[in-house]
Amino acid sequence: MSGEGAAGGGWTGALRRRATRALPPDKLLPDAQPAYMASWIYVFGVLTLAALMIVLVSGGVLALKGPAWWHVSGTGRYVNSLHLWSVELFMFFMVVHLWGKFFMAAWRGRRALTWVTGVVCFLVAIGTAFTGYLVQQNFDSQWIAGQAKDGLNSVGIGAFFNVLDFGQMLMWHILLLPFALGALTAWHVLLVRLRGIVPPIDATTPPATPPAPAATREAAG
C-alpha cells in the first residue's frame, strides 16, 4: 500500500514500528556489551541455551522414530542418551546461572520480568523432565508414575493431569511443555536485550534524565 506515512500500515505497521522502536537491530544483535558482562555467570546462560538446542534436536529425532525406538536400536539408544545427558547439562548450567543471577539481584532496574521468566523457565523445565521420565516405556517410568500419582491426586492435580496416561504424558512432553519452554526462553532472551544486563550492585546509578544544559553550565561555573 503506497502513501502509508509514518503512522500507516494498519496493525501490522503499528506492530512493526513498536517492535523496531523497542528493539532496533543494533540492540537486538549488539556487537558490544558493558564491561561488567565479563563474568562466567553469563557464559553459563549461553551454555544453557546451547544445551537446550541439543535437547530439542535430539528430542525431535526421538519424536520422528517413536518412543519405543531406543529399546530396539543401538542408534536409538545413542540418541536417547544424547537427549538425557544434554538435559542433565541443561539443568546443571541453568542452576549455576540462576544462582549467579540471584546473588546479583538481577531483578533490579525494571528487570523483574526478566528474572520471573527465567525462574518460570526453570519450573517448566522440571515439568518437562518429569514427563520425559514418564514416557521411557520401562519399569522405571512405571515406578515413577505409580509414586507420582498419589502425590498429584492428593492435591487434585490428578483430575486433569494423569501420570498413568502414557498418551497424555507423551503429548505434554513433546508438544505442550517444549513449546512453553521455547517461548519462555525466547521471551527471556528478548527481555535481556530490551533491558540489558544488570549492573553491579555497587555501581553508581546514572541519573534518570540528563541535566539541562543551563544547569550543567552553572555547575561547571
Binding site: 556489551q33 564491561a35 565479563a38 563474568s39 562466567w40 555467570i41 546443571f92 549455576v96 549467579g100
Partner: protein, 70 residues
Amino acid sequence: MAGHPHSVEEGAVRFVAAPVDLGGTGHYVHWGVVQLSVANLVVIGLMLVVFVAALLLPFPRGRGQGRGRG
C-alpha cells in the same frame, strides 16, 4: 574373558564402568524424611564447586578489549 578385552571398545567400556558399578543397587542418604541418592548429591556438590569457581576464576579478556562499552 575376564581381563582380556576382545576389542578396544570393550576395553574402553570396562575402563569407564570400573569406577562406578551402574548395574548395582543405588546408594541413598537418609536424613529424617529427606532421602537423596548419592548420585544426586554428587551432582549438587559439582554444581556448588562449579558455581564457586565461576565466581572466583578471572574472566579472560581478549586483546584490545580492555574495557567494554558502558
